[in-house]
């Protein structure tokens, strides 16, 4: 099973997904986030010993810099439509499936 943390900004339609199995704790996303939304935490259960978490999803402004600059495909910043659905590629997924 994959080890995924999912954050939802209640006031907005933004969903942030961090895949802890892919994150190597390199700190790049933390540094590029101008909203100071992310932080590095110890992850003794992971090979690299560090991983990333969100401080507060409400701070996210959907700039997507963390997603673009992450070398490990470990963080995704997604948007729900009016029906609460997220579309990835050609497949529509409900936010619960994400």
């Amino acid at each position: 099973m994959s080890d995924i943390i999912r954050y939802e900004a209640k006031e907005k339609d933004i969903v942030i997904i961090i895949d802890r199995d892919l994150c190597k704790g390199c700190d790049i996303c933390v540094q590029v986030c101008k909203q100071d939304g992310l932080k590095l935490v110890d992850a003794p259960d992971k090979w690299e010993g560090a991983s990333v978490e969100m401080i507060n999803p409400e701070l996210c402004n959907f700039c997507k810099l963390c997603e673009i600059q992450c070398p490990d495909f470990a963080i995704r910043v997604l948007r729900k439509d009016e029906e609460g659905t997220i579309t990835i590629g050609k497949s529509k997924k409900t936010s619960a499936e994400q």
Binding site: L22, D27, I68, D72
Partner: protein, 284 residues
């Protein structure tokens, strides 16, 4: 409706992840921008061949769920040329490191440029041989330390943009890993260009280069790159003095007039076939 997000996993061999690159290695950022560019173009992944040689960068095709070839050191372009000649309607992309592309494969590089064959070559320039232990490469900066230049490098380095242009490439651009969005755009345009495209990407190898040059983590080395680069539009307004020590990024050169190699080859076939069938028709 919100624009569909890219399905990265569709383009990746997800069972091979996490990839082998060091935490924060720039190659991962390049692979992501490459997928973004392919997704923008709407190309079918089954029509794409990604070919590499040897080195950290050359491990990229192993993670891409496309037609991939991991070949011998410096020879990616020769295999790619073969694929393109046999299947000229397919999209052929080569991903190479600086050592693979311009030292061991230097000769193949200049001749692919000269032929102007419709291949896109992405050169991930991290100034060093990462995989084999940090030996200096043709792009290690003057004065920098490497495993084989412990007292500082005295070799002047290649300017890959000038090299590609001089040898005849018809799309030449430079990107950097600190700006994934710009890289994606330059990769996209290079892939779309009909002819030989070279996109140099300034990247961090903090493990082998950075560690020896006071930048031992990814963030520090990416910052070093970010502080050196200037986008072309801005650079055009700067004086030579202000540009001292800077590296210009953006589209550096494009020529849509020069004939492309597989087109020339098709014309040759047509010409020779017309001649032989005319001969056969006249009964000679």
């Amino acid at each position: 409706m919100a624009k569909a997000a890219i399905d990265y996993l569709y383009y990746l061999r997800a069972d091979k992840l996490p990839h082998m690159w060091c935490p924060g290695c720039g190659i991962g950022i390049v692979v992501k921008a490459m997928i973004g560019a392919i997704d923008d173009l709407g190309w079918d992944k089954n029509d794409i061949a990604v070919i590499s040689g040897i080195g950290c960068t050359s491990r990229a095709p192993g993670y891409l769920d496309m037609n991939t070839l991991h070949t011998t050191h410096g020879r990616a372009l020769t295999f790619a040329t073969g694929v393109k000649m046999a299947q000229s309607t397919k999209h052929v992309i080569v991903i190479s490191g600086d050592g693979d592309a311009t030292a061991i494969g230097g000769n193949h590089f200049i001749h692919a440029c000269r032929r102007n064959i419709d291949i896109t070559e992405i050169i991930v320039n991290n100034n060093i041989y990462g995989m084999t232990g940090g030996q200096f490469s043709p792009t290690t900066p003057y004065g920098a330390k490497a495993a084989t230049t412990p007292y500082g490098n005295i070799d002047p380095s290649f300017d890959l943009v000038e090299l590609a242009k001089g040898a005849g490439a018809t799309y030449v651009a430079r990107a950097s890993v600190d700006n994934g969005r710009m890289m994606q755009k330059l990769l996209r345009d290079g892939m779309e260009h009909h002819g030989f495209s070279v996109i140099e990407v300034l990247a961090n190898c903090h493990t082998q280069f950075g560690r020896r040059n006071k930048m031992s983590d990814a963030v520090t080395m990416i910052d070093w790159i970010a502080n050196r680069v200037v986008a072309k539009a801005k650079a055009d307004k700067m004086t030579l003095e202000e540009l001292e020590g800077k590296v210009i990024t953006g589209l550096m050169y494009q020529n849509k007039e020069r004939p492309e190699y597989t087109d020339e080859y098709d014309k040759l076939i047509e010409r020779v076939q017309a001649k032989t069938s005319a001969k056969a028709g006249s009964g000679k």
